[in-house]
Protein backbone atom coordinates (compact mmCIF):
# COMPACT_ATOMS: atom_id res chain seq x y z
CA UNK A 1 0.00 0.00 0.00
CA UNK A 2 2.64 2.51 1.04
CA UNK A 3 4.74 1.61 -2.03
CA UNK A 4 2.63 3.89 -4.25
CA UNK A 5 3.58 6.82 -2.03
CA UNK A 6 7.33 6.54 -2.56
CA UNK A 7 7.54 8.05 -6.05
CA UNK A 8 7.37 11.76 -6.97
CA UNK A 9 4.09 11.10 -8.82
CA UNK A 10 2.06 11.26 -5.62
CA UNK A 11 3.40 14.66 -4.56
CA UNK A 12 2.95 16.20 -8.01
CA UNK A 13 -0.53 14.76 -8.42
CA UNK A 14 -1.65 15.90 -4.95
CA UNK A 15 -0.31 19.44 -5.53
CA UNK A 16 -2.06 19.81 -8.87
CA UNK A 17 -5.37 18.30 -7.71
CA UNK A 18 -5.70 20.35 -4.51
CA UNK A 19 -4.80 23.54 -6.42
CA UNK A 20 -7.38 22.78 -9.12
CA UNK A 21 -10.01 22.15 -6.41
CA UNK A 22 -9.00 25.53 -4.96
CA UNK A 23 -9.41 27.25 -8.34
CA UNK A 24 -12.81 25.59 -8.84
CA UNK A 25 -14.03 26.65 -5.37
CA UNK A 26 -12.70 30.17 -5.93
CA UNK A 27 -14.63 30.43 -9.19
CA UNK A 28 -17.82 28.91 -7.73
CA UNK A 29 -17.73 31.27 -4.74
CA UNK A 30 -17.18 34.27 -7.06
CA UNK A 31 -13.76 35.04 -5.60
CA UNK A 32 -14.41 34.66 -1.88
CA UNK A 33 -11.02 35.27 -0.22
CA UNK A 34 -11.44 32.22 2.02
CA UNK A 35 -11.37 30.03 -1.11
CA UNK A 36 -8.21 31.60 -2.53
CA UNK A 37 -6.66 28.64 -4.49
CA UNK A 38 -3.28 28.69 -2.75
CA UNK A 39 -4.90 28.75 0.69
CA UNK A 40 -7.35 25.95 -0.18
CA UNK A 41 -4.54 23.86 -1.70
CA UNK A 42 -2.38 24.31 1.40
CA UNK A 43 -5.10 23.42 3.92
CA UNK A 44 -6.52 20.55 1.84
CA UNK A 45 -3.05 19.15 1.12
CA UNK A 46 -2.08 19.20 4.80
CA UNK A 47 -5.40 17.57 5.83
CA UNK A 48 -4.96 14.81 3.22
CA UNK A 49 -1.39 14.15 4.39
CA UNK A 50 -2.47 14.04 8.05
CA UNK A 51 -5.33 11.61 7.26
CA UNK A 52 -3.19 9.33 5.05
CA UNK A 53 -0.39 9.30 7.62
CA UNK A 54 -2.86 8.30 10.33
CA UNK A 55 -4.31 5.55 8.11
CA UNK A 56 -0.85 4.15 7.38
CA UNK A 57 0.16 4.46 11.02
CA UNK A 58 3.01 6.94 10.45
CA UNK A 59 3.80 10.36 11.88
CA UNK A 60 2.71 13.25 9.66
CA UNK A 61 6.25 14.66 9.48
CA UNK A 62 7.82 11.39 8.31
CA UNK A 63 4.98 10.69 5.87
CA UNK A 64 5.42 14.22 4.46
CA UNK A 65 9.15 13.64 3.94
CA UNK A 66 8.88 10.20 2.34
CA UNK A 67 5.66 10.55 0.35
CA UNK A 68 5.03 14.20 -0.52
CA UNK A 69 8.45 15.89 -0.57
CA UNK A 70 9.94 14.06 -3.62
CA UNK A 71 7.13 15.34 -5.85
CA UNK A 72 6.73 18.66 -4.05
CA UNK A 73 10.42 19.46 -4.51
CA UNK A 74 10.09 19.08 -8.28
CA UNK A 75 7.36 21.73 -8.40
CA UNK A 76 9.19 23.85 -5.83
CA UNK A 77 12.27 23.96 -8.07
CA UNK A 78 10.36 26.02 -10.63
CA UNK A 79 10.18 28.88 -8.12
CA UNK A 80 13.84 29.47 -9.03
CA UNK A 81 13.25 30.47 -12.69
CA UNK A 82 9.98 32.14 -11.63
CA UNK A 83 11.89 34.42 -9.24
CA UNK A 84 14.41 35.27 -11.96
CA UNK A 85 11.50 36.12 -14.27
CA UNK A 86 10.67 39.13 -12.06
CA UNK A 87 13.59 40.87 -13.77
CA UNK A 88 11.18 41.33 -16.71
CA UNK A 89 8.58 43.56 -14.98
CA UNK A 90 11.50 45.33 -13.30
CA UNK A 91 13.14 46.03 -16.65
CA UNK A 92 9.86 47.13 -18.22
CA UNK A 93 9.55 49.95 -15.65
CA UNK A 94 13.17 51.08 -15.68
CA UNK A 95 11.85 54.65 -15.98
CA UNK A 96 10.45 54.53 -12.43
CA UNK A 97 13.64 52.99 -11.03
CA UNK A 98 15.87 55.62 -12.65
CA UNK A 99 13.69 58.40 -11.30
CA UNK A 100 13.00 57.14 -7.77
CA UNK A 101 15.92 54.87 -6.82
CA UNK A 102 16.96 57.10 -3.91
CA UNK A 103 13.45 57.08 -2.43
CA UNK A 104 13.11 53.32 -3.04
CA UNK A 105 16.36 52.50 -1.21
CA UNK A 106 15.63 54.95 1.61
CA UNK A 107 12.10 53.59 2.09
CA UNK A 108 13.26 49.96 2.19
CA UNK A 109 16.08 50.62 4.68
CA UNK A 110 14.20 52.98 7.00
CA UNK A 111 10.95 51.03 6.62
CA UNK A 112 12.52 47.72 7.54
CA UNK A 113 14.14 49.17 10.68
CA UNK A 114 10.78 50.63 11.79
CA UNK A 115 9.02 47.33 10.94
CA UNK A 116 11.54 45.23 12.86
CA UNK A 117 11.13 47.47 15.91
CA UNK A 118 7.35 47.17 15.67
CA UNK A 119 7.52 43.37 15.22
CA UNK A 120 9.75 43.00 18.31
CA UNK A 121 7.36 45.24 20.27
CA UNK A 122 4.29 43.24 19.24
CA UNK A 123 6.06 39.92 19.93
CA UNK A 124 7.06 41.00 23.44
CA UNK A 125 3.57 42.34 24.12
CA UNK A 126 2.01 39.01 23.13
CA UNK A 127 4.65 37.16 25.13
CA UNK A 128 6.71 35.19 22.62
CA UNK A 129 9.93 33.52 23.72
CA UNK A 130 13.35 34.94 22.82
CA UNK A 131 13.94 32.11 20.33
CA UNK A 132 10.58 32.75 18.67
CA UNK A 133 11.29 36.48 18.30
CA UNK A 134 14.74 35.77 16.83
CA UNK A 135 13.10 33.35 14.39
CA UNK A 136 10.67 36.03 13.25
CA UNK A 137 13.22 38.84 12.71
CA UNK A 138 14.45 37.78 9.23
CA UNK A 139 10.98 36.98 7.85
CA UNK A 140 10.92 39.95 5.44
CA UNK A 141 13.64 38.30 3.36
CA UNK A 142 12.92 35.39 1.03
CA UNK A 143 13.18 31.94 2.63
CA UNK A 144 16.64 31.23 1.19
CA UNK A 145 18.03 34.31 3.00
CA UNK A 146 15.82 34.18 6.09
CA UNK A 147 16.62 30.58 7.10
CA UNK A 148 20.44 30.87 7.39
CA UNK A 149 20.16 34.30 9.07
CA UNK A 150 17.65 32.92 11.57
CA UNK A 151 19.95 30.01 12.40
CA UNK A 152 22.97 32.31 12.80
CA UNK A 153 21.23 34.57 15.35
CA UNK A 154 19.87 31.65 17.36
CA UNK A 155 16.37 31.32 15.98
CA UNK A 156 14.47 28.20 14.98
CA UNK A 157 14.60 27.97 11.20
CA UNK A 158 11.41 25.87 11.03
CA UNK A 159 9.52 28.78 12.63
CA UNK A 160 11.20 31.21 10.21
CA UNK A 161 10.17 29.07 7.25
CA UNK A 162 6.61 28.97 8.56
CA UNK A 163 6.60 32.77 8.92
CA UNK A 164 7.91 33.31 5.36
CA UNK A 165 5.33 30.92 3.91
CA UNK A 166 2.43 32.34 5.91
CA UNK A 167 3.45 35.91 4.93
CA UNK A 168 3.12 34.97 1.28
CA UNK A 169 -0.17 33.09 1.73
CA UNK A 170 -1.66 35.99 3.75
CA UNK A 171 -0.68 38.59 1.13
CA UNK A 172 -1.91 36.43 -1.75
CA UNK A 173 -5.21 35.62 -0.05
CA UNK A 174 -5.95 38.94 1.69
CA UNK A 175 -4.13 41.32 -0.67
CA UNK A 176 -7.28 42.95 -2.03
CA UNK A 177 -8.68 43.55 1.43
CA UNK A 178 -5.36 44.86 2.84
CA UNK A 179 -4.77 47.23 -0.08
CA UNK A 180 -8.29 48.61 0.28
CA UNK A 181 -8.27 48.87 4.09
CA UNK A 182 -4.95 50.68 4.29
CA UNK A 183 -5.58 52.74 1.12
CA UNK A 184 -2.30 51.61 -0.39
CA UNK A 185 -3.22 52.14 -4.03
CA UNK A 186 -3.00 55.93 -3.66
CA UNK A 187 0.74 55.43 -4.10
CA UNK A 188 1.66 52.58 -6.49
CA UNK A 189 5.38 52.76 -5.66
CA UNK A 190 4.75 52.33 -1.94
CA UNK A 191 2.15 49.61 -2.51
CA UNK A 192 4.58 47.64 -4.69
CA UNK A 193 7.46 47.95 -2.23
CA UNK A 194 5.20 46.92 0.67
CA UNK A 195 3.76 43.91 -1.17
CA UNK A 196 7.20 42.71 -2.26
CA UNK A 197 8.61 43.04 1.27
CA UNK A 198 5.71 41.39 3.09
CA UNK A 199 4.72 38.77 0.49
CA UNK A 200 8.10 38.05 -1.15
CA UNK A 201 7.90 36.51 -4.63
CA UNK A 202 4.21 35.63 -4.23
CA UNK A 203 3.49 39.18 -3.08
CA UNK A 204 5.26 40.40 -6.22
CA UNK A 205 3.01 38.26 -8.41
CA UNK A 206 0.02 39.80 -6.64
CA UNK A 207 1.50 43.31 -7.03
CA UNK A 208 1.93 42.70 -10.76
CA UNK A 209 -1.81 42.06 -10.99
CA UNK A 210 -2.41 45.58 -9.60
CA UNK A 211 -0.20 47.23 -12.21
CA UNK A 212 3.22 47.36 -13.85
CA UNK A 213 4.60 49.94 -11.40
CA UNK A 214 3.50 47.90 -8.38
CA UNK A 215 4.95 44.72 -9.91
CA UNK A 216 8.35 46.23 -10.69
CA UNK A 217 8.57 47.86 -7.26
CA UNK A 218 7.73 44.55 -5.55
CA UNK A 219 10.48 42.82 -7.55
CA UNK A 220 13.07 45.41 -6.54
CA UNK A 221 11.88 45.14 -2.91
CA UNK A 222 12.50 41.38 -2.88
CA UNK A 223 16.11 41.92 -3.95
CA UNK A 224 16.95 44.97 -1.81
CA UNK A 225 15.17 43.73 1.35
CA UNK A 226 17.14 40.48 1.12
CA UNK A 227 20.42 42.41 1.31
CA UNK A 228 19.05 44.80 3.97
CA UNK A 229 17.96 41.86 6.17
CA UNK A 230 21.34 40.20 5.66
CA UNK A 231 22.99 43.35 7.01
CA UNK A 232 20.72 44.67 9.76
CA UNK A 233 19.11 41.64 11.42
CA UNK A 234 22.37 40.31 12.98
CA UNK A 235 23.06 43.80 14.40
CA UNK A 236 19.44 44.26 15.45
CA UNK A 237 19.30 40.95 17.33
CA UNK A 238 22.40 41.94 19.32
CA UNK A 239 20.91 45.31 20.23
CA UNK A 240 17.58 44.05 21.57
CA UNK A 241 18.72 41.08 23.68
Amino acid sequence: MSVIFTTPFFGICLSVVVYLIGQWLFKKSHGLFFFQPLFVAMVLGIVILVVLAALLGKSTASFYTTAYKPGGDLIFWFLNPATIAFAIPLYKRNDIIKKYWVEILAALIVGSVISLTAIVGVSKLIGLSKTAIESLLPQAATTAIALPISASIGGNSAVTAMACILNAVIIYALGDWLVKTFRLNSDPIGAGLGLGTSGHTIGSAYALKLGSVQGSMAAIAVVVIGVVIDLIVPIFSKLIF
Binding site: S15, V16, Y19, P37, L38, F39, A41, G45, I46, T60, A61, Y64, Y68, G71, G72, I75, F76, L79, N80, P81, A82, T83, I84, A87, I88, P89, Y91, I96, Y100, A107, G111, S112, I114, I119, S123, Q139, T143, A144, I145, V159, M162, I165, N167, A168, V169, L178, F182, L184, D187, I189, G190, G194, L195, I202, A205, V213, V222, V223, D230, P234
Partner: protein
Protein backbone atom coordinates in the same frame (compact mmCIF):
# COMPACT_ATOMS: atom_id res chain seq x y z
CA UNK B 1 -2.09 46.55 -26.26
CA UNK B 2 -2.91 44.86 -29.53
CA UNK B 3 0.31 45.89 -31.21
CA UNK B 4 2.50 44.89 -28.28
CA UNK B 5 0.86 41.48 -28.22
CA UNK B 6 1.47 41.04 -31.91
CA UNK B 7 5.13 41.98 -31.71
CA UNK B 8 5.83 39.64 -28.78
CA UNK B 9 4.09 36.71 -30.45
CA UNK B 10 5.90 37.45 -33.71
CA UNK B 11 9.41 37.56 -32.33
CA UNK B 12 9.08 35.33 -29.25
CA UNK B 13 12.06 32.98 -29.06
CA UNK B 14 11.33 29.23 -29.18
CA UNK B 15 10.43 27.64 -25.85
CA UNK B 16 13.64 25.66 -25.58
CA UNK B 17 15.79 28.75 -26.25
CA UNK B 18 13.94 30.65 -23.53
CA UNK B 19 14.32 27.76 -21.08
CA UNK B 20 17.99 27.59 -22.06
CA UNK B 21 18.52 31.23 -21.08
CA UNK B 22 16.84 30.67 -17.71
CA UNK B 23 18.84 27.55 -16.92
CA UNK B 24 22.18 29.11 -17.91
CA UNK B 25 21.45 32.17 -15.76
CA UNK B 26 20.44 29.92 -12.84
CA UNK B 27 23.61 27.87 -13.21
CA UNK B 28 25.86 30.96 -13.26
CA UNK B 29 23.86 32.57 -10.42
CA UNK B 30 24.27 29.44 -8.33
CA UNK B 31 28.03 29.54 -8.90
CA UNK B 32 28.16 33.21 -7.82
CA UNK B 33 25.89 32.49 -4.85
CA UNK B 34 28.33 29.89 -3.52
CA UNK B 35 31.04 32.59 -3.31
CA UNK B 36 29.13 34.51 -0.62
CA UNK B 37 29.99 33.73 3.02
CA UNK B 38 27.49 31.80 5.15
CA UNK B 39 26.93 34.90 7.30
CA UNK B 40 25.82 36.90 4.25
CA UNK B 41 23.65 34.55 2.17
CA UNK B 42 22.52 35.73 -1.26
CA UNK B 43 20.51 32.93 -2.88
CA UNK B 44 20.88 31.94 -6.52
CA UNK B 45 17.40 33.13 -7.66
CA UNK B 46 18.06 36.64 -6.29
CA UNK B 47 21.42 36.82 -8.08
CA UNK B 48 19.72 35.42 -11.18
CA UNK B 49 17.10 38.16 -11.02
CA UNK B 50 19.85 40.81 -10.89
CA UNK B 51 21.76 39.10 -13.73
CA UNK B 52 18.73 38.91 -16.02
CA UNK B 53 17.83 42.52 -15.18
CA UNK B 54 21.36 43.69 -16.08
CA UNK B 55 21.38 41.59 -19.28
CA UNK B 56 18.06 43.17 -20.30
CA UNK B 57 19.09 46.70 -19.31
CA UNK B 58 22.34 46.52 -21.27
CA UNK B 59 20.45 45.03 -24.26
CA UNK B 60 22.51 41.83 -24.25
CA UNK B 61 19.31 39.79 -23.99
CA UNK B 62 16.21 40.90 -25.87
CA UNK B 63 12.91 41.03 -24.03
CA UNK B 64 11.20 38.61 -26.43
CA UNK B 65 13.84 35.96 -25.69
CA UNK B 66 12.61 35.60 -22.09
CA UNK B 67 9.22 37.33 -21.91
CA UNK B 68 6.66 34.61 -22.66
CA UNK B 69 8.21 31.91 -20.44
CA UNK B 70 8.70 34.50 -17.68
CA UNK B 71 5.08 35.63 -17.85
CA UNK B 72 3.94 32.01 -17.81
CA UNK B 73 6.03 31.21 -14.71
CA UNK B 74 4.86 34.34 -12.88
CA UNK B 75 1.28 33.50 -13.89
CA UNK B 76 1.38 30.08 -12.21
CA UNK B 77 3.42 31.17 -9.20
CA UNK B 78 0.47 30.53 -6.86
CA UNK B 79 0.57 26.88 -7.90
CA UNK B 80 4.37 26.71 -7.67
CA UNK B 81 4.07 27.80 -4.05
CA UNK B 82 1.70 24.93 -3.09
CA UNK B 83 4.54 22.58 -1.98
CA UNK B 84 5.87 25.31 0.35
CA UNK B 85 2.42 25.68 1.89
CA UNK B 86 2.01 21.95 2.30
CA UNK B 87 5.52 21.71 3.82
CA UNK B 88 3.99 23.20 6.97
CA UNK B 89 2.58 19.67 7.52
CA UNK B 90 6.07 18.74 8.75
CA UNK B 91 5.95 21.58 11.29
CA UNK B 92 2.51 21.01 12.78
CA UNK B 93 4.22 20.34 16.14
CA UNK B 94 5.53 23.91 16.31
CA UNK B 95 2.02 25.24 15.82
CA UNK B 96 0.77 23.00 18.62
CA UNK B 97 3.56 24.09 20.96
CA UNK B 98 3.57 27.83 20.31
CA UNK B 99 -0.07 27.97 19.33
CA UNK B 100 -2.10 30.93 18.27
CA UNK B 101 0.33 33.56 19.60
CA UNK B 102 2.92 32.69 16.98
CA UNK B 103 0.38 32.68 14.14
CA UNK B 104 -1.03 35.99 15.39
CA UNK B 105 2.41 37.65 15.50
CA UNK B 106 3.23 36.34 12.00
CA UNK B 107 -0.05 37.73 10.64
CA UNK B 108 0.54 41.08 12.38
CA UNK B 109 4.15 41.18 11.13
CA UNK B 110 2.94 40.71 7.56
CA UNK B 111 0.60 43.67 7.91
CA UNK B 112 3.26 45.76 9.70
CA UNK B 113 5.79 45.14 6.92
CA UNK B 114 3.26 45.92 4.19
CA UNK B 115 1.89 49.11 5.72
CA UNK B 116 5.12 50.53 7.19
CA UNK B 117 7.15 50.05 3.99
CA UNK B 118 4.32 51.42 1.82
CA UNK B 119 3.87 54.55 3.94
CA UNK B 120 7.62 55.12 4.38
CA UNK B 121 7.94 55.14 0.58
CA UNK B 122 4.96 57.46 0.31
CA UNK B 123 6.61 59.79 2.84
CA UNK B 124 9.94 59.88 0.98
CA UNK B 125 8.24 60.54 -2.35
CA UNK B 126 6.24 63.30 -0.70
CA UNK B 127 9.51 64.78 0.67
CA UNK B 128 10.99 64.78 -2.83
CA UNK B 129 8.00 66.65 -4.17
CA UNK B 130 8.20 69.21 -1.37
CA UNK B 131 11.91 69.78 -1.99
CA UNK B 132 11.27 70.13 -5.70
CA UNK B 133 8.55 72.65 -5.04
CA UNK B 134 10.75 74.64 -2.68
CA UNK B 135 13.55 74.64 -5.24
CA UNK B 136 11.15 75.73 -7.96
CA UNK B 137 9.67 78.56 -5.88
CA UNK B 138 12.16 81.37 -6.67
CA UNK B 139 11.81 80.75 -10.40
CA UNK B 140 8.10 80.22 -10.72
CA UNK B 141 5.98 82.85 -9.10
CA UNK B 142 2.53 81.62 -9.98
CA UNK B 143 0.82 78.91 -7.95
CA UNK B 144 -0.50 77.38 -11.14
CA UNK B 145 2.94 76.22 -12.25
CA UNK B 146 3.58 74.65 -8.87
CA UNK B 147 0.30 72.85 -9.02
CA UNK B 148 1.09 71.64 -12.52
CA UNK B 149 4.44 70.30 -11.39
CA UNK B 150 2.86 68.37 -8.54
CA UNK B 151 0.23 66.98 -10.87
CA UNK B 152 2.80 65.78 -13.37
CA UNK B 153 4.84 64.06 -10.67
CA UNK B 154 1.69 62.40 -9.36
CA UNK B 155 0.69 61.32 -12.82
CA UNK B 156 4.08 59.84 -13.44
CA UNK B 157 3.96 57.86 -10.22
CA UNK B 158 0.52 56.56 -11.06
CA UNK B 159 1.36 55.74 -14.65
CA UNK B 160 1.09 52.28 -16.05
CA UNK B 161 -2.03 51.13 -14.24
Amino acid sequence: MKTSKQTTSKKAAPLLVQLGIYTVILFVANAISSLFPASFPVPAPVIGLILLYLLLTFHIIKLEWVDSVGSFLIGIIGFLFVPSGISLAANLKIMQQQGWQLILVIALSTIILLVVIAYTAKFFIWCRQEIKQLAAKPHTKSLNTLHGLKMSVNQHAKGGE
